[in-house]
Amino acid sequence: MHKWWVIFKKEIFRVVTDRRLVLTVFVLPGLAIFLVYFMIGTVIGGQITSEETHEPTLYTEHMPAAIEERLEERVDYTLYEGDLERSELESMIEEETIDAGLIFEEDFLSHVESGAVPSVEVLYNPAATHSSNAFNHVNGALSAYHESIIIDRLDAPEDYHVYDLSTRELFDERAVTAQGFAMIMPMLIIIFLFVGVMNIGPDAIAGEKERGTMATLLVTPTRRRNIALGKVFSLVLLSFMSALSSFIGLLLSLPRLMQFDDSLPELSIYRFVDFLAIFVVIVSTVFFIVALVSVLSAFAKSVKEATTWIMPFYFIALIIGILNSFGASATQSFLPHLAPIYGPINILAGILTFEYSVLNLAAVLLSTLLYTGVFIAALNMMFNSEKVMFSK
Protein backbone atom coordinates (compact mmCIF):
# COMPACT_ATOMS: atom_id res chain seq x y z
CA MET A 1 0.00 0.00 0.00
CA HIS A 2 1.35 3.44 -0.90
CA LYS A 3 2.40 5.35 2.19
CA TRP A 4 0.71 8.56 0.99
CA TRP A 5 -2.56 6.62 0.81
CA VAL A 6 -2.11 5.42 4.43
CA ILE A 7 -1.60 9.02 5.57
CA PHE A 8 -4.47 10.22 3.34
CA LYS A 9 -6.87 7.67 4.90
CA LYS A 10 -5.79 8.58 8.44
CA GLU A 11 -6.35 12.30 7.80
CA ILE A 12 -9.82 11.65 6.35
CA PHE A 13 -10.70 9.26 9.17
CA ARG A 14 -9.56 11.88 11.69
CA VAL A 15 -12.09 14.41 10.39
CA VAL A 16 -15.08 12.29 9.42
CA THR A 17 -15.21 10.39 12.72
CA ASP A 18 -14.92 13.47 14.91
CA ARG A 19 -18.40 14.90 15.49
CA ARG A 20 -17.00 18.31 16.37
CA LEU A 21 -14.99 18.48 13.15
CA VAL A 22 -17.85 17.12 11.04
CA LEU A 23 -19.98 19.89 12.47
CA THR A 24 -17.43 22.67 11.93
CA VAL A 25 -16.05 21.51 8.58
CA PHE A 26 -19.09 20.11 6.77
CA VAL A 27 -22.31 21.22 8.48
CA LEU A 28 -21.72 24.71 9.88
CA PRO A 29 -20.32 26.37 6.70
CA GLY A 30 -23.40 25.40 4.67
CA LEU A 31 -25.82 26.05 7.50
CA ALA A 32 -24.29 29.45 8.30
CA ILE A 33 -24.31 30.52 4.64
CA PHE A 34 -27.92 29.35 4.26
CA LEU A 35 -29.13 31.14 7.41
CA VAL A 36 -27.25 34.39 6.71
CA TYR A 37 -28.34 34.66 3.06
CA PHE A 38 -31.87 33.46 3.86
CA MET A 39 -32.20 36.18 6.49
CA ILE A 40 -30.76 38.84 4.17
CA GLY A 41 -33.22 37.72 1.47
CA THR A 42 -36.10 37.78 3.93
CA VAL A 43 -35.24 41.33 5.04
CA ILE A 44 -34.86 42.56 1.43
CA GLY A 45 -38.10 40.78 0.43
CA GLY A 46 -39.90 42.34 3.38
CA GLN A 47 -38.76 45.81 2.32
CA ILE A 48 -39.89 45.31 -1.28
CA THR A 49 -43.28 43.96 -0.15
CA SER A 50 -43.70 46.85 2.26
CA GLU A 51 -43.01 49.37 -0.51
CA GLU A 52 -45.40 47.62 -2.90
CA THR A 53 -48.30 47.33 -0.47
CA HIS A 54 -47.96 50.58 1.42
CA GLU A 55 -50.93 52.93 1.01
CA PRO A 56 -49.65 56.51 1.38
CA THR A 57 -51.34 58.90 3.78
CA LEU A 58 -51.80 62.34 2.21
CA TYR A 59 -52.85 65.63 3.75
CA THR A 60 -54.53 67.97 1.29
CA GLU A 61 -56.03 71.45 1.33
CA HIS A 62 -58.35 72.63 -1.44
CA MET A 63 -57.45 69.76 -3.78
CA PRO A 64 -59.50 69.99 -7.00
CA ALA A 65 -61.50 66.91 -8.02
CA ALA A 66 -59.66 66.74 -11.38
CA ILE A 67 -56.35 66.21 -9.65
CA GLU A 68 -57.88 63.86 -7.09
CA GLU A 69 -59.11 61.65 -9.94
CA ARG A 70 -55.69 61.57 -11.56
CA LEU A 71 -54.09 60.69 -8.22
CA GLU A 72 -56.60 57.89 -7.61
CA GLU A 73 -55.73 56.45 -11.04
CA ARG A 74 -52.13 56.12 -9.88
CA VAL A 75 -52.32 54.96 -6.28
CA ASP A 76 -54.70 53.98 -3.52
CA TYR A 77 -54.17 56.50 -0.78
CA THR A 78 -55.66 57.58 2.51
CA LEU A 79 -56.59 61.16 3.16
CA TYR A 80 -55.64 62.51 6.55
CA GLU A 81 -58.81 63.62 8.31
CA GLY A 82 -58.73 66.94 10.08
CA ASP A 83 -57.07 70.33 9.81
CA LEU A 84 -53.45 70.90 10.65
CA GLU A 85 -51.37 73.93 11.32
CA ARG A 86 -48.39 74.29 8.95
CA SER A 87 -45.85 73.42 11.66
CA GLU A 88 -47.90 70.39 12.72
CA LEU A 89 -47.99 69.13 9.12
CA GLU A 90 -44.22 69.55 8.71
CA SER A 91 -43.52 67.63 11.93
CA MET A 92 -45.87 64.82 10.97
CA ILE A 93 -44.17 64.45 7.57
CA GLU A 94 -40.75 64.42 9.20
CA GLU A 95 -42.01 61.82 11.69
CA GLU A 96 -43.46 59.82 8.74
CA THR A 97 -47.01 59.88 10.15
CA ILE A 98 -48.09 61.58 6.92
CA ASP A 99 -46.29 60.72 3.67
CA ALA A 100 -46.95 63.95 1.74
CA GLY A 101 -48.87 67.18 1.95
CA LEU A 102 -50.56 69.01 -1.00
CA ILE A 103 -51.53 72.60 -0.28
CA PHE A 104 -53.51 74.15 -3.14
CA GLU A 105 -54.39 77.79 -3.24
CA GLU A 106 -58.06 78.48 -2.45
CA ASP A 107 -60.23 78.38 -5.61
CA PHE A 108 -57.34 76.78 -7.45
CA LEU A 109 -59.53 75.59 -10.35
CA SER A 110 -61.16 79.04 -10.95
CA HIS A 111 -57.73 80.63 -11.01
CA VAL A 112 -56.49 78.14 -13.58
CA GLU A 113 -59.57 78.61 -15.76
CA SER A 114 -59.17 82.41 -15.61
CA GLY A 115 -55.59 82.15 -16.75
CA ALA A 116 -54.11 83.21 -13.45
CA VAL A 117 -51.19 81.24 -11.97
CA PRO A 118 -52.29 79.78 -8.63
CA SER A 119 -49.81 78.10 -6.33
CA VAL A 120 -49.55 74.51 -5.20
CA GLU A 121 -47.11 73.37 -2.61
CA VAL A 122 -46.01 69.74 -2.13
CA LEU A 123 -44.33 68.76 1.12
CA TYR A 124 -42.56 65.41 1.50
CA ASN A 125 -39.62 63.75 3.25
CA PRO A 126 -36.96 62.58 0.78
CA ALA A 127 -35.22 60.59 3.55
CA ALA A 128 -38.28 58.34 3.92
CA THR A 129 -38.93 55.72 1.22
CA HIS A 130 -42.72 55.82 1.57
CA SER A 131 -42.77 59.64 1.43
CA SER A 132 -40.53 59.66 -1.67
CA ASN A 133 -42.83 57.16 -3.38
CA ALA A 134 -45.89 59.29 -2.44
CA PHE A 135 -44.18 62.35 -3.91
CA ASN A 136 -43.60 60.49 -7.21
CA HIS A 137 -47.31 59.65 -7.43
CA VAL A 138 -48.34 63.21 -6.58
CA ASN A 139 -45.86 64.64 -9.08
CA GLY A 140 -47.19 62.29 -11.78
CA ALA A 141 -50.78 63.32 -11.11
CA LEU A 142 -49.90 67.03 -11.19
CA SER A 143 -47.96 66.59 -14.48
CA ALA A 144 -50.89 64.77 -16.04
CA TYR A 145 -53.25 67.57 -14.94
CA HIS A 146 -50.82 70.20 -16.21
CA GLU A 147 -50.64 68.47 -19.59
CA SER A 148 -54.43 68.32 -19.89
CA ILE A 149 -54.71 72.07 -19.18
CA ILE A 150 -52.07 72.87 -21.84
CA ILE A 151 -53.94 70.79 -24.41
CA ASP A 152 -57.20 72.59 -23.56
CA ARG A 153 -55.52 75.96 -24.04
CA LEU A 154 -54.17 75.17 -27.50
CA ASP A 155 -56.22 76.35 -30.48
CA ALA A 156 -55.40 73.15 -32.25
CA PRO A 157 -55.07 70.41 -29.60
CA GLU A 158 -53.65 68.00 -32.20
CA ASP A 159 -50.57 70.31 -32.32
CA TYR A 160 -49.60 68.91 -28.95
CA HIS A 161 -49.16 65.54 -30.61
CA VAL A 162 -45.57 65.77 -31.90
CA TYR A 163 -44.54 62.13 -32.14
CA ASP A 164 -45.63 58.59 -31.28
CA LEU A 165 -43.37 57.06 -28.71
CA SER A 166 -43.14 53.32 -28.29
CA THR A 167 -40.50 51.55 -26.19
CA ARG A 168 -39.43 47.91 -26.37
CA GLU A 169 -37.18 46.25 -23.85
CA LEU A 170 -34.74 44.11 -25.79
CA PHE A 171 -32.59 41.75 -23.71
CA ASP A 172 -31.43 38.15 -23.68
CA GLU A 173 -32.79 36.73 -20.44
CA ARG A 174 -30.05 34.06 -20.59
CA ALA A 175 -27.34 36.73 -20.72
CA VAL A 176 -28.87 38.63 -17.81
CA THR A 177 -28.99 35.48 -15.66
CA ALA A 178 -25.42 34.60 -16.71
CA GLN A 179 -24.19 38.08 -15.79
CA GLY A 180 -25.79 37.70 -12.37
CA PHE A 181 -24.02 34.40 -11.79
CA ALA A 182 -20.69 35.77 -13.07
CA MET A 183 -20.91 38.68 -10.64
CA ILE A 184 -21.25 36.65 -7.45
CA MET A 185 -20.18 33.06 -8.11
CA PRO A 186 -16.41 33.38 -8.79
CA MET A 187 -15.96 35.49 -5.66
CA LEU A 188 -18.03 33.16 -3.49
CA ILE A 189 -16.35 30.03 -4.87
CA ILE A 190 -12.88 31.38 -4.04
CA ILE A 191 -14.00 32.49 -0.57
CA PHE A 192 -15.64 29.15 0.16
CA LEU A 193 -12.56 27.25 -1.03
CA PHE A 194 -10.18 29.39 1.03
CA VAL A 195 -12.32 29.15 4.15
CA GLY A 196 -12.69 25.39 3.62
CA VAL A 197 -8.90 24.95 3.48
CA MET A 198 -8.32 27.34 6.39
CA ASN A 199 -10.74 25.28 8.52
CA ILE A 200 -8.48 22.23 8.50
CA GLY A 201 -5.17 22.98 6.76
CA PRO A 202 -3.27 24.70 9.59
CA ASP A 203 -4.23 22.01 12.10
CA ALA A 204 -3.18 19.15 9.81
CA ILE A 205 0.39 20.43 9.50
CA ALA A 206 1.21 23.24 11.97
CA GLY A 207 -1.04 21.54 14.54
CA GLU A 208 0.90 18.29 14.19
CA LYS A 209 4.18 20.16 14.63
CA GLU A 210 2.82 22.00 17.65
CA ARG A 211 1.51 18.83 19.30
CA GLY A 212 4.69 16.84 18.60
CA THR A 213 2.88 14.21 16.52
CA MET A 214 4.72 15.22 13.32
CA ALA A 215 8.05 14.05 14.76
CA THR A 216 6.49 10.65 15.50
CA LEU A 217 5.56 10.41 11.84
CA LEU A 218 8.99 11.56 10.69
CA VAL A 219 10.82 8.70 12.47
CA THR A 220 8.96 6.10 10.41
CA PRO A 221 10.51 4.85 7.16
CA THR A 222 8.18 7.04 5.09
CA ARG A 223 9.51 9.36 2.43
CA ARG A 224 8.78 12.99 3.25
CA ARG A 225 7.30 13.32 -0.24
CA ASN A 226 4.65 10.75 0.67
CA ILE A 227 3.83 12.58 3.89
CA ALA A 228 3.41 15.81 1.89
CA LEU A 229 1.22 14.12 -0.74
CA GLY A 230 -0.93 12.31 1.84
CA LYS A 231 -1.55 15.59 3.66
CA VAL A 232 -2.23 17.59 0.48
CA PHE A 233 -4.61 15.08 -1.12
CA SER A 234 -6.60 14.61 2.09
CA LEU A 235 -6.85 18.37 2.56
CA VAL A 236 -8.01 18.76 -1.04
CA LEU A 237 -10.85 16.28 -0.53
CA LEU A 238 -11.89 17.67 2.85
CA SER A 239 -11.70 21.28 1.70
CA PHE A 240 -13.66 20.47 -1.41
CA MET A 241 -16.39 18.86 0.71
CA SER A 242 -16.40 21.84 3.06
CA ALA A 243 -16.71 24.24 0.12
CA LEU A 244 -19.46 22.04 -1.33
CA SER A 245 -21.37 22.39 1.94
CA SER A 246 -21.13 26.20 1.63
CA PHE A 247 -22.19 25.99 -2.00
CA ILE A 248 -25.27 23.89 -1.18
CA GLY A 249 -26.17 26.40 1.55
CA LEU A 250 -25.82 29.19 -1.01
CA LEU A 251 -27.92 27.41 -3.64
CA LEU A 252 -30.70 26.72 -1.14
CA SER A 253 -30.74 30.34 0.01
CA LEU A 254 -30.51 31.86 -3.52
CA PRO A 255 -34.26 31.81 -4.28
CA ARG A 256 -34.93 33.90 -1.18
CA LEU A 257 -31.82 36.07 -1.61
CA MET A 258 -32.50 36.92 -5.26
CA GLN A 259 -36.30 37.03 -4.81
CA PHE A 260 -36.76 34.18 -7.33
CA ASP A 261 -40.28 33.22 -6.12
CA ASP A 262 -38.81 30.42 -4.02
CA SER A 263 -37.55 28.47 -7.02
CA LEU A 264 -33.92 27.63 -7.73
CA PRO A 265 -32.11 29.89 -10.22
CA GLU A 266 -32.11 28.76 -13.83
CA LEU A 267 -28.93 26.68 -14.15
CA SER A 268 -30.04 24.97 -17.36
CA ILE A 269 -28.63 27.88 -19.37
CA TYR A 270 -25.25 26.15 -19.00
CA ARG A 271 -24.15 23.13 -20.98
CA PHE A 272 -22.50 20.03 -19.58
CA VAL A 273 -19.15 21.21 -20.93
CA ASP A 274 -19.51 24.50 -18.99
CA PHE A 275 -20.14 22.62 -15.75
CA LEU A 276 -17.17 20.38 -16.52
CA ALA A 277 -14.94 23.43 -17.10
CA ILE A 278 -16.14 24.99 -13.82
CA PHE A 279 -15.46 21.72 -12.02
CA VAL A 280 -11.87 21.34 -13.28
CA VAL A 281 -11.08 24.99 -12.50
CA ILE A 282 -12.44 24.54 -8.96
CA VAL A 283 -10.47 21.31 -8.43
CA SER A 284 -7.21 22.84 -9.68
CA THR A 285 -7.81 25.91 -7.51
CA VAL A 286 -8.44 23.73 -4.43
CA PHE A 287 -5.09 22.03 -5.09
CA PHE A 288 -3.40 25.42 -5.36
CA ILE A 289 -4.94 26.83 -2.17
CA VAL A 290 -4.24 23.62 -0.23
CA ALA A 291 -0.60 23.59 -1.39
CA LEU A 292 -0.19 27.28 -0.47
CA VAL A 293 -1.80 26.81 2.95
CA SER A 294 0.28 23.66 3.55
CA VAL A 295 3.55 25.48 2.85
CA LEU A 296 2.58 28.34 5.15
CA SER A 297 1.46 25.87 7.84
CA ALA A 298 4.70 23.89 7.57
CA PHE A 299 6.65 27.12 7.94
CA ALA A 300 4.68 28.16 11.05
CA LYS A 301 5.41 26.85 14.52
CA SER A 302 1.79 26.77 15.65
CA VAL A 303 -1.76 26.81 14.29
CA LYS A 304 -2.14 30.41 15.46
CA GLU A 305 0.99 31.48 13.59
CA ALA A 306 -0.12 29.57 10.48
CA THR A 307 -3.47 31.37 10.48
CA THR A 308 -1.65 34.69 10.77
CA TRP A 309 0.48 33.82 7.72
CA ILE A 310 -2.50 32.65 5.68
CA MET A 311 -4.75 35.62 6.42
CA PRO A 312 -3.05 38.14 4.03
CA PHE A 313 -3.36 35.65 1.15
CA TYR A 314 -7.03 35.17 1.99
CA PHE A 315 -7.59 38.93 1.90
CA ILE A 316 -5.79 39.19 -1.46
CA ALA A 317 -8.09 36.48 -2.85
CA LEU A 318 -11.07 38.26 -1.34
CA ILE A 319 -10.12 41.59 -2.93
CA ILE A 320 -9.56 39.98 -6.34
CA GLY A 321 -12.98 38.32 -6.01
CA ILE A 322 -14.70 41.57 -5.06
CA LEU A 323 -12.99 43.49 -7.90
CA ASN A 324 -14.21 40.83 -10.30
CA SER A 325 -17.78 41.28 -9.03
CA PHE A 326 -17.69 45.02 -9.70
CA GLY A 327 -15.71 44.75 -12.94
CA ALA A 328 -17.05 44.56 -16.44
CA SER A 329 -16.87 41.32 -18.38
CA ALA A 330 -14.01 38.83 -17.96
CA THR A 331 -10.79 39.78 -19.71
CA GLN A 332 -9.91 37.71 -22.77
CA SER A 333 -6.16 38.51 -22.72
CA PHE A 334 -3.93 35.48 -22.32
CA LEU A 335 -1.37 36.66 -19.75
CA PRO A 336 -3.74 37.56 -16.88
CA HIS A 337 -4.94 33.96 -16.95
CA LEU A 338 -1.51 32.86 -15.74
CA ALA A 339 -1.84 34.85 -12.51
CA PRO A 340 -2.65 32.73 -9.45
CA ILE A 341 -6.14 33.29 -7.99
CA TYR A 342 -6.90 36.04 -10.55
CA GLY A 343 -6.70 33.56 -13.45
CA PRO A 344 -9.21 31.07 -11.95
CA ILE A 345 -11.61 33.85 -10.90
CA ASN A 346 -11.45 35.43 -14.35
CA ILE A 347 -11.95 32.18 -16.22
CA LEU A 348 -14.88 31.25 -13.93
CA ALA A 349 -16.51 34.59 -14.78
CA GLY A 350 -15.76 33.89 -18.45
CA ILE A 351 -17.31 30.41 -18.33
CA LEU A 352 -20.41 31.73 -16.56
CA THR A 353 -20.90 34.43 -19.22
CA PHE A 354 -20.07 32.08 -22.13
CA GLU A 355 -17.02 34.20 -22.97
CA TYR A 356 -13.93 32.04 -22.62
CA SER A 357 -11.46 30.33 -24.88
CA VAL A 358 -10.02 26.85 -24.51
CA LEU A 359 -6.54 28.40 -24.65
CA ASN A 360 -7.25 30.61 -21.64
CA LEU A 361 -8.84 27.71 -19.77
CA ALA A 362 -5.76 25.58 -20.46
CA ALA A 363 -3.52 28.45 -19.32
CA VAL A 364 -5.38 28.66 -16.01
CA LEU A 365 -5.32 24.91 -15.42
CA LEU A 366 -1.67 24.41 -16.35
CA SER A 367 -0.37 27.47 -14.49
CA THR A 368 -2.40 26.61 -11.37
CA LEU A 369 -1.11 23.03 -11.42
CA LEU A 370 2.43 24.30 -12.01
CA TYR A 371 2.24 26.60 -8.97
CA THR A 372 0.76 23.70 -6.99
CA GLY A 373 3.66 21.47 -8.06
CA VAL A 374 6.16 24.11 -6.96
CA PHE A 375 4.46 24.43 -3.58
CA ILE A 376 4.36 20.64 -3.09
CA ALA A 377 8.07 20.44 -3.95
CA ALA A 378 8.70 23.22 -1.41
CA LEU A 379 6.59 21.35 1.13
CA ASN A 380 8.65 18.22 0.54
CA MET A 381 11.83 20.23 1.14
CA MET A 382 10.35 21.72 4.28
CA PHE A 383 9.47 18.27 5.63
CA ASN A 384 13.10 17.34 4.98
CA SER A 385 14.40 20.42 6.73
CA GLU A 386 15.11 19.92 10.41
CA LYS A 387 15.16 23.71 10.83
CA VAL A 388 11.56 23.96 9.67
CA MET A 389 10.28 20.81 11.33
CA PHE A 390 11.93 21.25 14.70
CA SER A 391 12.26 25.01 15.02
CA LYS A 392 11.15 26.46 18.34
Binding site: R14, V219, T220, P221, T222
Partner: protein, 256 residues
Protein backbone atom coordinates in the same frame (compact mmCIF):
# COMPACT_ATOMS: atom_id res chain seq x y z
CA UNK B 1 33.07 -2.82 13.33
CA UNK B 2 30.30 -2.27 15.86
CA UNK B 3 26.59 -2.73 15.24
CA UNK B 4 25.88 0.97 15.76
CA UNK B 5 28.68 3.50 15.68
CA UNK B 6 28.67 7.23 16.17
CA UNK B 7 31.91 8.72 14.86
CA UNK B 8 33.10 12.21 15.64
CA UNK B 9 29.79 13.99 15.06
CA UNK B 10 29.39 17.73 15.44
CA UNK B 11 26.11 19.62 15.39
CA UNK B 12 25.64 23.36 15.54
CA UNK B 13 22.29 25.14 15.85
CA UNK B 14 21.38 28.69 14.98
CA UNK B 15 19.71 30.26 17.97
CA UNK B 16 16.59 32.33 17.51
CA UNK B 17 16.32 35.63 19.37
CA UNK B 18 13.94 33.93 21.82
CA UNK B 19 16.40 31.08 22.40
CA UNK B 20 19.29 33.52 22.91
CA UNK B 21 17.22 35.24 25.56
CA UNK B 22 16.45 31.95 27.29
CA UNK B 23 20.09 30.79 27.12
CA UNK B 24 21.28 34.27 28.16
CA UNK B 25 23.83 34.45 25.35
CA UNK B 26 24.66 36.88 22.55
CA UNK B 27 26.11 34.15 20.36
CA UNK B 28 23.89 33.31 17.38
CA UNK B 29 25.18 29.75 17.16
CA UNK B 30 25.37 26.97 19.67
CA UNK B 31 27.50 23.85 19.35
CA UNK B 32 25.28 21.09 20.72
CA UNK B 33 27.69 18.19 20.19
CA UNK B 34 31.38 18.40 19.28
CA UNK B 35 33.37 15.40 18.15
CA UNK B 36 31.02 12.94 19.83
CA UNK B 37 31.81 9.23 19.36
CA UNK B 38 30.40 6.09 20.92
CA UNK B 39 29.15 2.68 19.90
CA UNK B 40 26.71 -0.01 20.96
CA UNK B 41 26.34 -3.65 20.01
CA UNK B 42 23.39 -6.00 20.03
CA UNK B 43 22.61 -7.43 23.46
CA UNK B 44 23.95 -4.32 25.17
CA UNK B 45 22.52 -1.24 26.87
CA UNK B 46 24.55 1.94 26.45
CA UNK B 47 23.72 4.80 28.76
CA UNK B 48 24.35 8.41 27.82
CA UNK B 49 24.52 10.19 31.13
CA UNK B 50 24.56 13.96 31.32
CA UNK B 51 22.80 17.03 32.65
CA UNK B 52 20.17 18.98 30.71
CA UNK B 53 21.67 20.75 27.69
CA UNK B 54 24.72 18.44 27.53
CA UNK B 55 23.84 17.26 24.00
CA UNK B 56 22.14 13.92 24.77
CA UNK B 57 18.96 14.62 22.80
CA UNK B 58 20.89 16.04 19.81
CA UNK B 59 23.05 12.91 19.73
CA UNK B 60 20.05 10.59 19.87
CA UNK B 61 18.05 12.59 17.33
CA UNK B 62 21.02 12.33 14.98
CA UNK B 63 21.09 8.55 15.42
CA UNK B 64 17.33 8.42 14.83
CA UNK B 65 17.83 10.36 11.52
CA UNK B 66 15.61 13.22 12.64
CA UNK B 67 18.51 15.65 12.26
CA UNK B 68 21.76 15.46 10.34
CA UNK B 69 25.10 16.20 11.99
CA UNK B 70 27.24 18.89 10.35
CA UNK B 71 30.15 16.51 10.29
CA UNK B 72 31.06 12.97 11.27
CA UNK B 73 29.07 9.82 10.57
CA UNK B 74 26.69 7.36 12.15
CA UNK B 75 26.47 3.80 10.89
CA UNK B 76 24.20 0.87 11.54
CA UNK B 77 25.51 -2.54 10.55
CA UNK B 78 28.20 -0.77 8.53
CA UNK B 79 25.80 1.46 6.54
CA UNK B 80 25.74 5.19 7.05
CA UNK B 81 22.37 6.38 8.37
CA UNK B 82 22.98 9.72 6.67
CA UNK B 83 22.84 8.23 3.19
CA UNK B 84 20.48 5.32 4.04
CA UNK B 85 18.02 7.03 6.37
CA UNK B 86 14.94 5.01 5.30
CA UNK B 87 16.76 1.69 5.78
CA UNK B 88 18.05 2.91 9.15
CA UNK B 89 14.54 3.89 10.31
CA UNK B 90 13.35 0.35 9.62
CA UNK B 91 15.85 -0.94 12.19
CA UNK B 92 15.43 1.81 14.77
CA UNK B 93 12.87 2.57 17.43
CA UNK B 94 13.06 6.08 18.81
CA UNK B 95 11.11 7.10 21.84
CA UNK B 96 11.18 10.44 23.57
CA UNK B 97 8.65 12.35 25.59
CA UNK B 98 8.74 15.01 22.86
CA UNK B 99 7.25 12.58 20.34
CA UNK B 100 3.52 12.54 20.90
CA UNK B 101 0.57 10.50 19.72
CA UNK B 102 -2.51 12.13 18.24
CA UNK B 103 -5.06 12.51 21.05
CA UNK B 104 -8.00 11.73 18.79
CA UNK B 105 -7.02 8.12 17.94
CA UNK B 106 -7.11 4.93 19.99
CA UNK B 107 -3.97 2.88 20.75
CA UNK B 108 -5.42 0.12 18.56
CA UNK B 109 -5.83 2.40 15.53
CA UNK B 110 -2.41 4.00 15.98
CA UNK B 111 -0.69 0.63 16.34
CA UNK B 112 -2.18 -0.47 12.99
CA UNK B 113 -1.37 2.89 11.38
CA UNK B 114 2.27 2.94 12.40
CA UNK B 115 2.73 -0.75 11.60
CA UNK B 116 1.63 0.02 8.00
CA UNK B 117 4.06 2.94 7.84
CA UNK B 118 6.80 0.58 9.10
CA UNK B 119 5.91 -1.95 6.37
CA UNK B 120 4.84 -4.57 8.93
CA UNK B 121 2.59 -7.25 7.41
CA UNK B 122 -0.77 -8.07 8.94
CA UNK B 123 0.25 -11.39 10.51
CA UNK B 124 3.26 -9.88 12.25
CA UNK B 125 1.23 -6.84 13.24
CA UNK B 126 -1.40 -8.90 15.02
CA UNK B 127 1.26 -11.01 16.76
CA UNK B 128 3.20 -7.92 17.89
CA UNK B 129 0.01 -6.22 19.00
CA UNK B 130 -1.01 -9.21 21.10
CA UNK B 131 2.41 -9.44 22.75
CA UNK B 132 2.98 -5.73 23.41
CA UNK B 133 -0.59 -4.87 24.41
CA UNK B 134 -0.66 -7.74 26.84
CA UNK B 135 2.80 -6.92 28.27
CA UNK B 136 1.93 -3.27 28.97
CA UNK B 137 -1.72 -3.84 29.85
CA UNK B 138 -2.85 -1.78 26.85
CA UNK B 139 -5.67 -4.28 26.15
CA UNK B 140 -7.66 -2.55 28.88
CA UNK B 141 -7.63 0.80 27.09
CA UNK B 142 -6.94 -0.21 23.48
CA UNK B 143 -10.16 1.41 22.28
CA UNK B 144 -9.94 4.54 24.44
CA UNK B 145 -8.78 7.72 22.70
CA UNK B 146 -5.21 8.72 23.58
CA UNK B 147 -6.46 12.12 24.79
CA UNK B 148 -8.45 10.36 27.53
CA UNK B 149 -5.51 8.29 28.80
CA UNK B 150 -3.29 9.03 31.80
CA UNK B 151 0.34 10.02 31.12
CA UNK B 152 1.50 6.54 32.16
CA UNK B 153 -0.94 4.89 29.75
CA UNK B 154 0.19 7.26 26.98
CA UNK B 155 3.84 6.43 27.61
CA UNK B 156 3.10 2.69 27.51
CA UNK B 157 1.20 3.18 24.25
CA UNK B 158 4.07 5.21 22.77
CA UNK B 159 6.51 2.51 23.82
CA UNK B 160 4.43 -0.25 22.21
CA UNK B 161 3.95 1.76 19.02
CA UNK B 162 7.64 2.61 18.74
CA UNK B 163 8.41 -1.11 18.87
CA UNK B 164 5.73 -2.13 16.37
CA UNK B 165 8.31 -3.24 13.78
CA UNK B 166 10.44 -5.28 16.20
CA UNK B 167 13.53 -3.09 15.68
CA UNK B 168 17.09 -4.20 16.44
CA UNK B 169 18.13 -0.79 17.76
CA UNK B 170 16.13 0.91 20.47
CA UNK B 171 16.88 4.55 21.29
CA UNK B 172 15.18 6.02 24.32
CA UNK B 173 15.59 9.63 25.33
CA UNK B 174 14.84 9.99 29.05
CA UNK B 175 12.51 6.97 28.99
CA UNK B 176 11.24 7.31 32.55
CA UNK B 177 10.83 11.08 32.61
CA UNK B 178 7.54 12.14 34.18
CA UNK B 179 6.39 8.59 34.82
CA UNK B 180 4.99 7.26 38.06
CA UNK B 181 7.07 4.62 39.89
CA UNK B 182 5.02 1.68 38.60
CA UNK B 183 5.13 2.72 34.95
CA UNK B 184 8.84 3.61 35.23
CA UNK B 185 9.49 0.13 36.59
CA UNK B 186 7.54 -1.47 33.73
CA UNK B 187 9.63 0.48 31.22
CA UNK B 188 13.01 -0.30 32.80
CA UNK B 189 12.09 -3.99 33.16
CA UNK B 190 11.17 -4.11 29.52
CA UNK B 191 14.42 -2.47 28.46
CA UNK B 192 16.27 -5.22 30.25
CA UNK B 193 14.08 -7.81 28.53
CA UNK B 194 14.84 -6.27 25.14
CA UNK B 195 18.56 -6.38 25.88
CA UNK B 196 18.28 -10.08 26.70
CA UNK B 197 16.45 -10.61 23.41
CA UNK B 198 19.59 -9.30 21.69
CA UNK B 199 18.52 -5.73 20.94
CA UNK B 200 21.00 -2.87 21.06
CA UNK B 201 19.72 -0.13 23.35
CA UNK B 202 20.89 3.43 23.78
CA UNK B 203 19.25 5.43 26.48
CA UNK B 204 19.90 8.90 27.66
CA UNK B 205 19.19 9.91 31.19
CA UNK B 206 20.29 12.16 33.99
CA UNK B 207 19.12 9.69 36.60
CA UNK B 208 22.17 7.88 37.98
CA UNK B 209 20.21 4.98 39.47
CA UNK B 210 18.79 4.08 36.03
CA UNK B 211 22.31 3.91 34.61
CA UNK B 212 23.60 1.82 37.52
CA UNK B 213 20.71 -0.57 37.26
CA UNK B 214 20.49 -1.07 33.50
CA UNK B 215 23.57 -0.09 31.54
CA UNK B 216 26.36 -2.37 30.39
CA UNK B 217 28.41 0.60 29.31
CA UNK B 218 28.05 4.26 29.98
CA UNK B 219 29.27 7.51 28.48
CA UNK B 220 29.26 10.68 30.57
CA UNK B 221 28.47 13.56 28.22
CA UNK B 222 29.19 17.14 29.19
CA UNK B 223 29.15 20.19 26.96
CA UNK B 224 28.67 18.11 23.81
CA UNK B 225 31.54 15.65 24.30
CA UNK B 226 32.02 12.31 26.02
CA UNK B 227 34.19 12.99 29.06
CA UNK B 228 34.45 9.42 30.25
CA UNK B 229 33.28 6.12 28.81
CA UNK B 230 33.41 2.40 29.53
CA UNK B 231 31.73 -0.29 31.55
CA UNK B 232 30.15 0.86 34.74
CA UNK B 233 33.12 -0.35 36.79
CA UNK B 234 35.60 1.29 34.38
CA UNK B 235 33.82 4.61 34.62
CA UNK B 236 33.40 4.78 38.35
CA UNK B 237 36.60 2.91 39.36
CA UNK B 238 36.69 2.77 43.14
CA UNK B 239 34.48 5.79 43.57
CA UNK B 240 30.74 6.27 43.58
CA UNK B 241 29.18 7.02 40.13
CA UNK B 242 27.60 10.17 41.55
CA UNK B 243 30.98 11.43 42.80
CA UNK B 244 32.61 10.71 39.43
CA UNK B 245 29.80 12.50 37.60
CA UNK B 246 29.98 15.62 39.78
CA UNK B 247 33.76 15.79 39.68
CA UNK B 248 33.66 15.66 35.85
CA UNK B 249 30.92 18.28 35.86
CA UNK B 250 33.05 20.53 38.11
CA UNK B 251 36.07 20.10 35.81
CA UNK B 252 33.92 20.95 32.80
CA UNK B 253 32.59 24.14 34.41
CA UNK B 254 36.12 25.07 35.47
CA UNK B 255 37.48 24.52 31.90
CA UNK B 256 34.68 26.60 30.42
Amino acid sequence: MHDLEVRDIRKTFTLSRKQRKIEKTDSKRKVAVRGLSFFVNRGEIYGLLGPNGAGKTTALRSVATLINPDRGDISIDGKSVLSHSLAARRKIAFLTTELKLDDFFTPNYLFDYFSTLHDVDETMREARKKTLFSKFGIDRFAEVKVGDLSSGMKQKTSLAISLVHDPDFVIFDEPTNGLDVLTARTVTDYLWELRNEGKAIILSTHILSVVEKLCDRVGIILDGTIKREGTLSEVRGDADLEDVFFSLLEESVHDA
